[in-house]
């Protein structure tokens, strides 16, 4: 997973403030939090000398584009389909106390995580405890993953 520092190294580092933020570091954090877009850094787009950096930046940011609203990223190639996250997720357990809570797969569509075709899928991301104004940094799904197939931005 890419970090703010790594993104910062690929920015112009001139603190020109054209993006509306005081420093390039702030812009890097904004990019990571998906509040800012790469295109908002005009020097990086317009000036030729940053071409290589821009290309690299787009590369490292590509996986983040697939993240859900909560910043959840699933790497399907790593997933075992074990369902640890499905059973551990507190929202899933609350939605299906007779199934997810006791280790069975969910039946309804109210859950956040479910295994389909051998790979975990994310649905109803807005129900996630990481979403909304009262969000908390729950990590039940990432901590229980044996193959690091789930990550948060």
């Amino acid at each position: 997973m890419v970090g703010a520092m790594e993104i910062y190294m690929l920015l112009p580092k001139t603190n020109c403030k054209k993006c509306g933020l005081p420093t390039c570091m702030a812009f890097a954090v904004g990019l990571l939090g998906r509040e800012k877009k790469i295109d908002e850094c005009t020097p990086l787009i317009e000036e030729k000398k940053y071409e290589a950096k821009l290309k690299k930046l787009r590369e490292v940011m590509a996986p983040l584009e697939n993240a859900s609203e909560t910043g959840l990223i699933i790497h399907p190639e790593k997933c075992f389909g074990c369902g640890n996250c499905v059973v551990a997720c507190p929202v899933n357990v609350a939605a299906e106390p007779t199934r997810c809570a006791v280790g069975l797969g969910p039946k309804s569509d109210k859950v956040i995580l479910a295994v389909e075709d051998g790979i975990v899928k994310c649905m109803n991301a807005k129900e996630c405890r990481r979403f909304g104004p009262n969000k908390i940094l729950c990590n039940a799904c990432t901590a229980t993953c044996p193959s690091k197939a789930i990550e948060f931005v």
Binding site: F80, G81, A101, G103, G105, V115, G118
Partner: protein, 407 residues
């Protein structure tokens, strides 16, 4: 609801969406099960004799002929068949006076015998979910071999007495030669051994439980492990192949450890069986003959011994029937080579190294998807399942019955 026959957990909560000739969606199926089910549509076997495609009747006739004329036939495999097929198989062995052995002979047999005869206490996986607070994965990596083991039973689900589950009430311990995917989930409680050190490790645990200083490994960590085991209310050890291969004739040590642990608290053992119905075959043969595997029915009575194991019998037999297994791929090279030289009859839904080398290939329906039956889960619970897809193929049981009729 469909039952997955991909591993010995026999998950019963699989929901399939079917369209003619394909599975369009499979809910709750793990990656291993997904591979197992999708395999239905590739590389299916056709009835063959000497590599030439023939009709099913001809293949069955030829198989019966080979078995009938053989003096020392070997019937091997069985772990990926239902109880019904296995029962017919044992009858066939009796009728032929053949040697019958299953994959446990070169797998968990040595441990399974102790579990089935009651020398080592065992429990069901539902007990594990409801009561267990300590699970020890020893020489096993369920995240890869039985992907849903931790999520359905051992660690993550909330059970009757374990409502706080993995967050507070359960401890998972991994003992392995490498930091496997399961060991990663056990965080602090991973104990690394060099290959073959399991016996020393058990002796060290025994020493710690008796209050002595262990001579093996990090003393502090061993004492910490001893404390966890002592404080356990209901513990379960899941020995995998890693432990079984390492201990072999020293299996008594595990028995001693379990006895010792049971003096302090409750500890059970569930072997991590690989194939979905290996335990079923062991139980069935034990009920019928008193032995779990390696049985010969020569001269009309059942005899047991290492000379009847697949390793020895493969070199001695003059014909072999392989069902529900791929011995040419799984067994040691010398055994596989010996087996490939005799006239081989392979009954399998899919192409494998064994069917490629076989003289006679008989296709069968895939259990769980195309045929129903009963199988025994790794913890000894019988699970009956219905087919999900209609198929014209004969099941293992029907194929064996027809061979038996033809003999």
């Amino acid at each position: 609801m469909t039952t997955c026959t991909g591993c010995s957990l026999l998950c019963e909560d699989i929901e399939l969406a079917l369209k003619t000739g394909a599975i369009t969606q499979a809910k709750n199926l793990c990656r291993k099960g997904q591979g197992h089910f999708q395999a239905l549509f590739t590389e299916r076997t056709r009835p063959m004799i000497d590599g030439q495609e023939v009709s099913l009747d001809q293949a069955i006739g030829k198989a019966a002929e080979i078995l009938k004329s053989a003096k020392l036939p070997l019937l091997y495999g069985w772990s990926n068949s239902t109880l019904e097929a296995q029962a017919v198989g044992i009858d066939l062995a009796k009728k032929l006076g053949a040697t019958i052995d299953d994959t446990s002979s070169f797998c968990q047999g040595i441990l399974m015998e102790r579990v089935l005869t009651g020398k080592i206490p065992t429990c069901t996986l539902d007990d594990v979910r409801n009561y267990a607070d300590t699970s020890v994965f020893w020489g096993a990596d369920p995240s890869n071999s039985h992907p849903r083991h931790l999520s359905r039973f051992a660690y993550y689900p909330r059970g009757e007495k374990r409502q706080k589950s993995y967050e507070e009430e359960r401890t998972c311990i991994a003992v392995d030669v490498r930091k496997s995917a399961t060991a990663r989930l056990c965080s602090n409680y991973y104990f690394r051994l060099a290959p073959g050190q399991d016996a020393e490790f058990i002796e060290a645990i025994l020493a710690v439980l008796e209050g002595k200083i262990p001579k093996f490994g990090d003393k502090k960590r061993m004492i910490e492990l001893g404390t966890i085991l002592r404080k356990t209310e209901y513990g379960v050890i899941f020995p995998g192949l890693g432990m079984v291969y390492s201990l072999q004739e020293k299996m008594d040590l595990l028995e001693t450890l379990v006895v010792k642990l049971n003096e302090i608290t409750t500890f059970k053992v569930i072997p991590m069986v690989g194939h979905y119905n290996m335990r079923g075959f062991n139980q069935l043969l034990l009920d019928l003959t008193g032995f779990i595997n390696r049985v010969s029915f020569k001269d009309g009575k059942a005899s047991h011994g290492p000379e009847n194991s697949v390793i020895a019998a493969a070199k001695r037999c003059d014909a072999a029937l392989v069902i529900g297994s791929d011995p040419l791929c799984a067994l040691p090279f010398a055994t596989a080579r010996a087996l490939a030289k005799v006239p081989l009859i392979a009954i399998d839904p899919r192409r494998s190294l064994t069917t490629d080398a076989a003289k006679v290939v008989i296709p069968s329906a895939m259990y769980g998807l195309e045929a129903g039956g009963t199988a025994v889960r790794m913890d000894g619970v019988k699970i009956a399942f219905e087919p999900a897809i209609k198929s014209d193929l004969l099941s293992d049981e029907q194929v064996l019955t027809r061979i038996m009729e033809a003999i």
